[in-house]
């Protein structure tokens, strides 16, 4: 320990950030929300692509149903389209597990 040590300590700690900094916390939360939004958009796009592909790959089958069963299939197709629109929206708010449980409760009350 020399007489220079206090000067060194003072110089090293001279430009430290404050103990409380609300602005920094706000900036962290802003990044946090941006990251969450990006994840949610990516997940929604992925789910939409998968559902679109499934519908596209099964298009001949769906078309066959339309021809064979008429009105009944139209109702089913409408319900499927509604689910395709609703599921990504639900995924934004909830985890996939919550969505599956919610749909299960809705279909089998």
């Amino acid at each position: 320990m020399t007489d220079l040590d206090p000067r060194l300590t003072a110089a090293l700690n001279a430009d430290n950030p404050p103990a409380r900094d609300a602005l920094f916390r706000v900036k962290v939360l802003e990044r946090f929300e941006q990251a969450r939004f990006r994840r949610q958009v990516a997940r929604t796009i992925a789910v939409s692509i998968v559902l679109g592909l499934v519908a596209g790959l099964n298009a001949p089958l769906i078309e066959g149903w339309f021809v064979a069963a008429g009105e009944h299939v139209r109702i089913t197709a409408f319900a499927a389209a509604a689910i395709m629109c609703v599921v990504p929206a639900l995924l934004i708010k909830s985890s996939p597990g919550t969505v599956v449980r919610g749909l299960g409760r809705w279909l089998y009350p």
């Binding site: 000067r7 060194l8 090293l12 430009d15 430290n16 900036k27 962290v28 990044r31």
Partner: protein
């Protein structure tokens, strides 16, 4: 504020508590930012990396095993980020630090300007590992063994880094009269 409180916060963060995350940022932002500011020599880049550090802590809260303090764990994340980004900011550093040194921080009154500039210049001249060890032990208040854990370096190496770094900084101050 105790280590138990910190561990409880990390446990809550693992369960998705944003309130706990807020508190964690409040409690440890000063230590993480101080560490990164000394390490990078540029306050804006350091604060940017500190924000990234806290986001990583949120997404990787499960990686906290409890064998070190939460503050040490956060500084470890910050250290790995700084090391990873070393190349890109090394190119910008000389330009940006010239600007930084011309600025006057809010709490600068405690030390003479000559000492602050000399120490800052000397600190930036130290190799990255040595600078990190000096900052953790002499500024952030970690013990040598805690710093060794954070940096992933042998204890003897950290002790030697701190000793040599401190000598160089003292020499700079002594040169100021």
């Amino acid at each position: 504020m105790t280590d138990d409180d910190d561990v409880a916060l990390v446990t809550a963060i693992r369960n998705g508590s944003e309130l706990a995350f807020n508190r964690l940022v409040d409690r440890h932002q000063q230590a993480v930012r101080t560490f990164l500011r000394k390490l990078l020599g540029n306050d804006a880049d350091a604060d940017d990396m500190a924000q990234e550090t806290f986001l990583t802590a949120w997404t990787h809260a499960r990686s906290f095993r409890g064998d070190a303090s939460v503050r040490g764990w956060l500084c470890g994340i910050a250290w790995r980020k700084a090391k990873g980004a070393q190349r890109s900011w090394a190119q910008q550093r000389s330009r940006d630090t010239k600007y930084q040194w011309g600025q006057s921080p809010d709490n600068a009154a405690a030390a003479p300007m000559e000492d602050r500039l000399a120490v800052r210049r000397a600190l930036q001249a130290l190799p990255l590992d040595q600078r990190a060890a000096v900052t953790l032990c002499l500024v952030c208040g970690f013990s040598h063994s805690e710093a060794a854990g954070i940096l992933g370096a042998p204890l003897g190496t950290v002790k030697s880094h701190v000793l040599r770094g401190r000598e160089r900084l003292l020499k700079e101050i002594a040169g100021n009269g």
